[in-house]
């Protein structure tokens, strides 16, 4: 049960909780117990977690407390309760990717990002809800249960890392990891009023993160503040010999650069990201944020990203092509679901995959297989890769004139559950502003910039390759002006 004291604890930012731990004012066990109580009290309604590993978390908390008592505390994450999207492999803890096909799968190894969080002393509370194989923008494609937006339980938290954003918004933990293939960190962060960062492709190791689209996937942190996100990124970023697509260059000191302010910053405002389907209240919040930046000493530069409008089309060909191969290993032979009673090899494959995959993975496997198949490869897949080059060149040109690109994360705030499930194309269009950042392999961030019709709106910032530090600094400047994101009231009403 949740006490007033627990509520005070779970309402802290990661930074504040970390300071309390360092001051000896609270123990990791207290923090962990408070989070577990908060999860128990709220997650029946939110659905952020697919699995809660309470006992394991408490053991980790006790180890952290002993470490600290012995004078050996590890850093800002030591003893802090966190949670990761159920796409990150956790040794000995079931990992499902939100899919029936991995029900009961117990990984024999840890994702690099998980290893690093644990090496930093973090406490892992469990595995967070997501769209099946990270395919979706609303978390409604979870095979286990939908996740709801703590701001309005009839709305989606966004996807695919819905649980990662909702858990933070619901004060169930202090930081989370998600993955972003076409907006899957930034969209939920925007919908739930938290900060989410999709790092540069190659900044964070993908090893042990279940693949959706290998050239687009990038793990990243979500937090309630920019400091929290900077601390988490510092813990997980950097080279990994297990991932050859992970850059060899060392991570920056993101916390040290955080308070640099916005003075002198050149902010590019792409004309293609405004107008069209962008809802007026969202545009208003974004424009206000830009005005705030001007007041803080930044300059706005109008830029053009002429190929942005082709992003969705290029993305859905490339991502599904890669996914169709990445999802071939779910064949019922070595792990995962095997259809009962099959007598022949071809049945083993087709029945297991039919029973194990939900509609969205099937749809994308179909599209990707088609796009790669003989006679279509050049017209679809290859052409999309060329368009990808054009999109990247747009950004390269823009960054000659600005330091970051700013715009909306999504055309509107969180939409209603069920509103778009019948029309996949409409669902895909939710990613229209986030997708180019993945195609161009750039870092992107969502930071709260106010409310529209009572729902959070995120400002998107896109940076130069490996310049996460500037994104965080810029986001921090806005955050300092707007104050902390408000606590959603919906959850506090009687269940």
């Amino acid at each position: 049960m949740t006490t007033a004291n627990d509520a005070a604890l779970t309402g802290l930012s990661l930074q504040a909780a970390s300071l309390e731990l360092q001051a000896g004012a609270i123990s990791s066990r207290q923090l962990t117990e408070a989070c577990l109580a908060r999860i128990a009290a709220t997650d029946g309604r939110v659905g952020a977690f697919l699995a809660v590993t309470g006992e394991r978390a408490l053991q980790q908390a006790d180890r952290s407390d002993r470490r600290r008592a012995a004078g050996g505390a590890l850093g800002p994450l030591d003893g802090v309760p966190l949670a990761v999207k159920d796409l990150f492999l956790t040794r000995g803890v079931p990992t499902t990717a939100g899919s029936r096909i991995l029900e009961g799968f117990v990984p024999p190894y840890d994702a690099t990002a998980v290893t690093r969080l644990e090496a930093a002393g973090a406490v892992l509370l469990g595995k967070l809800n997501l769209d099946e194989f990270a395919m979706g923008s609303s978390n409604e494609h979870s095979a286990y249960r939908p996740c709801r937006n703590p701001w309005d339980l009839t709305r989606t938290p966004g996807g695919s890392s819905g649980g990662s954003a909702a858990a933070l918004s619901a004060r169930q933990c202090f930081g989370t990891l998600g993955t972003d293939t076409g907006g899957s960190i930034r969209l939920p962060a925007s919908f739930c009023g938290v900060v989410g960062l999709k790092p540069t492709y190659g900044r964070v190791s993908r090893y042990g993160v279940i693949a959706f689209a290998s050239s687009l996937d990038q793990p990243g942190p979500l937090g309630r503040t920019t400091w929290d996100v900077a601390a988490l990124l510092g813990a997980i970023a950097g080279p990994d010999p297990h991932d050859l697509t992970c850059a060899a260059r060392p991570a920056d000191d993101y916390l040290a650069a955080l308070e640099g302010g916005a003075r002198g910053l050149r902010i590019g405002v792409p004309r293609e990201w405004f107008g069209g389907g962008l809802q007026p209240e969202v545009e208003a919040r974004v424009r206000e944020a830009l005005t705030t930046y001007q007041r803080l000493g930044a300059t706005l530069v109008e830029i053009s990203l002429p190929h942005s409008r082709y992003g969705i089309a290029a993305y859905y060909l490339i991502a599904t092509a890669e996914a169709s191969a990445n999802l071939a290993r779910y064949d019922g032979v070595r792990f995962g679901l095997r259809a009962p009673g099959v007598r022949a090899l071809q049945e083993l494959y087709s029945e297991s995959r039919e029973q194990g995959f939900g509609a969205e993975p099937k749809r994308r496997i179909m599209l990707g297989t088609y796009a790669l198949s003989a006679g279509y490869h050049d017209a679809y897949y290859l052409r999309a890769q060329k368009v990808r080059t054009l999109i990247r060149r747009d950004f390269d040109a823009a960054f000659g004139r600005c330091d970051v690109v700013a715009g909306p994360v999504a055309p509107g705030p969180a939409f209603k559950l069920g509103e778009r499930t019948g029309d996949p194309l409409q669902m895909y269009l939710a990613d229209i502003f986030t997708i180019t950042c993945n195609l161009a392999a750039l870092p992107g961030l969502s930071v709260p910039c106010g409310l529209a019709r009572g729902l959070p709106v995120g400002l998107q910032l896109v940076g130069r390759p490996f310049d996460e530090a500037t994104l965080l600094k810029a986001a921090r400047a806005l955050e300092r002006e707007l104050g902390p994101a408000p606590v959603p009231a919906a959850l506090e009403a009687a269940p």
Partner: protein, 489 residues
Amino acid sequence: MTRTVAASDYQVVIGLEVHAQLLTLTKIFCGCSTGFGGAPNSHVCPICLGLPGVLPALNARVVELAVKTGLALGCAIQPVSVFSRKNYFYPDLPKGYQISQYELPICLGGGLAITVDGREKFIRLTRIHMEEDAGKNLHDVAADGSSGVDLNRAGVPLLEIVSEPDLRSADEAVEYLKALRAILLALGVNDGNLEEGSFRCDANVSVMRKGATQYGTRAELKNMNSFRYLKQAVEYEVRRQVALVETGQPVVQETRLYDPARGETRSMRSKEEAHDYRYFPEPDLPPVRVGEALVARMRAEQPELPRARAARYQGSLGLSAQDAGVLVGDGGLADFFDAALSARGGGAEAAKKVANWLIGELSRLANETGLPPRAWKLTPARLAEVLGLLDAGTVNGAGAKLLVEELFRHGGDPAELVRRRGLAQVSDEGAIEAAVDAVLAASPAEVERHRSGKKDLTGFFVGQVMKALKGKGNPGVVNALLKKKLGGG
């Protein structure tokens, strides 16, 4: 009969695709052992099992060996090459795709010379690329007829070496395969074992009427795990295709399995999408960049290749073509030869002697024990010492033979062995004369027959004297004394 038709009216066109396992310690994308043996699934890890979340970590040594091979075969080493995914479902393919190279392989062009019927011919290569091997499906592992999957071999590094369709007969195909194998062995990149499948080949075979400008439809032959089977399979396939064309039937493009028991090829159950592998660049592996430093390092590691070596043996060392061929042909005899010859001080005379020992006695022992030269207890330097003892007259031929066998099996110091085993040659004329006298005295009848000229019994007397001397008599002295005593001129 049909063979005659083929030879006279038809042109045979063959290209070979060779898969050679690279001699690395670990697999191509993970740190698991490439070693043979072990229980099923005992050399595996999350990566080669294709578990969710894994990524391939390319083994640097695989790239080095590919470059080394490409340089030896005169290929253009590509500064940038790209891995691709080849998509298909099969139980021995854990990820549902094989990581291979497709559009941009690491080596292009090149080729090698072969000699058939005394005529030299250059066979061009199309390409060489790196890829991972599949695992193994085991049939009937359970009473219900189920199959089993063992992934110990999954991810073992392979080079695929593709020739142009430059081969014009089964014999040329066999010679090409032998020459290629010898080069890979000399490079130390592959163990050349056809039977165990660490060196295997597929053959693309077609026939066309002589004078035609278009190749015929080709069939891909598989499962030839010896040179003999390759020859038989190609010859069978040529007869089959010629018979089809002669009777106006089409040749179908398909994969055919060679059945050694029947000496025939037969069509494999073709799958409907067999040719839709949906290749695309492997996003998990950045393009492979081969810099000048790596090329220079691999160039410096190039050994003398078999054909060049054989030419040197025939030229400056005066060995016969046949002896030179045997020495460079297989598993390290040539290295042993060079080392022993060098220890003996070189020269054509010594070369002939070293070659004779290697091709004769030592090859016999090697065959008997199955040991390659690097596993012999006899070192090249010790063989040179034995030859020194022989030349110096310390031991005779029979003694040297005993010595070599002893050293081959147990090793040791030849001079010391001669002493310990009492193998020193008896050259003392007094001792030999006493033995000769004793033999002649004991065989009056034979002496009479010999002297009468009815029969030359020299050999008999030599044998008797040697026997009396326990095999250690100096054959020259024995012969000379016998000649003198028997008065044979």
